[in-house]
Symmetry: C2
Subunit: 380 residues, 2 copies
């Protein structure tokens, strides 16, 4: 009878409407019926991406969409800026290196955001830079980067701005067009409340010029083929039909709530979680630039972080995430992204208090929950 | 109240067990619970592939797995044989060309199988050939190629044998190890009775040697990364969790029936469909090498093939496939692959008879159904 709670930064819980859509009998993709669905999905994605650009749906995880960005924009020997302040920023460097693209790496301490001025300096110093690869929310640290500020710099340069919004899209604000984001990539299993298996990528007119010149080999992720198909409301290869049908359901939910309200809900959950951490005497990991989709906190001294996460999951059914890379057992992460609301947060915090207390951490049981409730009950 | 019948060569209908699994709440992929599922899926895939090699699960459609084969085995400037006797054979050439790989193209008339002797001649004439790209069932024509015969030739050469078994795996016999297939790729939406969104690829020891030397750029489809992860019962990137959970259900069904019985069921459906075509006075398209998974027949003179397919779908709820490429309106294809049995075939044939008759084709209503029933009732 025990219920399960999933507060991880991907996958996130599925709404019942999405589960229902996933379980429907399948339909063929080359039918007017599926064409209507594809059209609806594309329109909904443009709403969530806040863009007039085409948004392509790939049958891949988010990393596939990241590779699509690199392979379609650049050629071997080109130079791009990557920003390493966590595991997913490092992924941009790795993909670029796989394709023989030179990377000017901006190193950022894990837990901190990139300085837009640093990007400006690099772009001015090296006019050969063709692309700036950024991360909206660095899931591994909980940090959100100021993409709006970066966009203001990159728009006036020869380079295109590429944003990994896998973590964050549909949960925190990302104004693709107004912020001059040339390419935005995302995935299905985060703010969009779906299982993993879909990648998304939007392409601006400035980016299309690079696509025309790109010489990196590609076939499955070839955006020119995707564009040709999309113009006929089709896909170049068999699409992930059930996931796209379910996508229409989650897009409908986001549209009904309205993006602004969705962002406010996430902000409130983040504020409540942060307040609870402080009330429990825990130190936030990304204090200066904490995102509204995942809160990272330091594991208190003397507590086994991995055991704590495991006990919450195996004994109480509450799955949160540990750290990644060198922070594996030193931080833990509570995601509040997608189909998550107040009740999930409160129960997760109550469980965290209990487990920490059982493990010997001195805590006033209820202190974290109380602090969170105060935020949820406030009108700001 | 009208029921829908899907007799297309991908996607194929989903068993209720699969639909149910797809609709379950999601679980996190970095848990012991999902690890057990991944292990079960990998074991089941080795049973269906009839191999001791590792079978990797990709979050992509079958084409992604095809690209993985090319990008992991070869380097720009290498030479490979491709066989063009249909749309999917041509896809191998296209992918190779995207990666700067030279192709020795064996042209085969659409509707016919490749001659193993032709491959032998080419391999002997050019010792630089590193890979032979073949197609088990050429879905666009309904032809099945004699992979066993090709394997006997390629095994004694320096080249590796790569088989596109997207259409056919889990429905017709393909003995990966006994037939010396070095790399076999497949997809989820055909014989495996799942929605599209998973690609599969098996790799033999002979093929791994090429993987070590390959210089094609790749990241998402990098098999060395996939192998490193698989050895820890993990995936390098977020897997398509729900599809893999559903895969365990369909693999269980295939195992319970036993591959041999599954193949017999498909053979009987193919024989019945072919007998019906003849009884209806229709000419089979791939007469000499027709597969057991899809039957292609010529549209009779004076009949609008596209309208026929459309009427069956829109008026009677029976979806079959038209032709592809230059045969778009000249042939039609009835798939009997995956979760399809006698009742589906009989109803499809009855519907086909009715629509053809309404369109002015002279036919004894019931003749096709009778011929099919005779096959289904026979004990051979």
């Amino acid at each position: 009878m025990r219920k399960s709670y999933l507060l991880t930064p991907g996958p996130t819980p599925l709404p019942p409407q999405v589960c229902e859509a996933l379980g429907r009998p399948i339909i063929h993709h080359r039918t007017p019926q599926f064409q209507a669905i594809l059209k609806e999905a594309n329109e909904g994605l443009r709403y969530v991406f806040q863009t007039k650009n085409d948004v392509f749906i790939l049958a891949s995880s988010g990393t596939g969409a990241m590779e699509a960005a690199v392979a379609n924009l650049l050629s071997a020997g080109d130079t791009a800026i990557t920003i390493q302040g966590g595991k997913f920023g490092e992924r941009w460097t790795e993909i670029c290196n796989s394709y023989g693209i030179n990377t000017e790496i901006i190193e950022v301490q894990w837990g901190e955001a990139v300085e837009a001025r640093e990007i400006e300096k690099r772009i001015k110093a090296n006019p050969k830079i063709k692309a700036v690869f950024t991360t909206l929310c660095e899931t591994s640290t909980g940090v959100v980067n100021d993409i709006e500020a970066v966009g203001k710099i990159v728009r006036n340069s020869q380079a295109v701005l590429v944003v990994d919004a896998i973590s964050g899209l549909g949960a925190i604000d990302l104004q693709t067009d107004s912020w001059f984001c040339d390419v935005v990539v995302s995935g299905s299993q985060k703010g969009l409340m779906l299982p993993p298996g879909l990648g998304f990528i939007s392409v601006s007119p400035k980016a299309w010029k690079l696509v025309q010149d790109s010489k990196c080999p590609k076939y499955y992720f070839d955006l020119k083929a995707a564009k040709k198909a999309l113009d006929k409301t089709d896909t170049p290869f068999t699409p992930a039909i059930t996931l796209i049908i379910a996508l229409c359901e989650s897009l409908k939910m986001l549209k009904e709530d309205g993006l602004e309200n969705v962002f406010l809900r996430h902000k409130k959950m983040a504020d409540a979680t942060k307040a609870a951490m402080k009330a429990m005497g825990l130190e936030l990991f990304a204090a200066s630039a904490a995102s509204d989709v995942v809160t990272a906190a330091k594991v208190p001294q003397g507590i086994d972080g991995e055991k704590m996460v495991k006990t919450m999951r195996d004994t109480y059914g509450v799955t949160i995430a540990g750290g990644q890379g060198e922070f594996k057992s030193r931080i833990f992460r509570i995601a509040h992204m997608g189909y998550i609301e107040k009740s999930d947060i409160i129960f997760c915090l109550a469980c965290l208090e209990k487990v920490l207390s059982q493990m010997g951490y001195k805590i006033n049981l209820g202190a974290g929950v109380k602090a969170a409730e105060e935020i949820f009950n406030s009108h700001t």
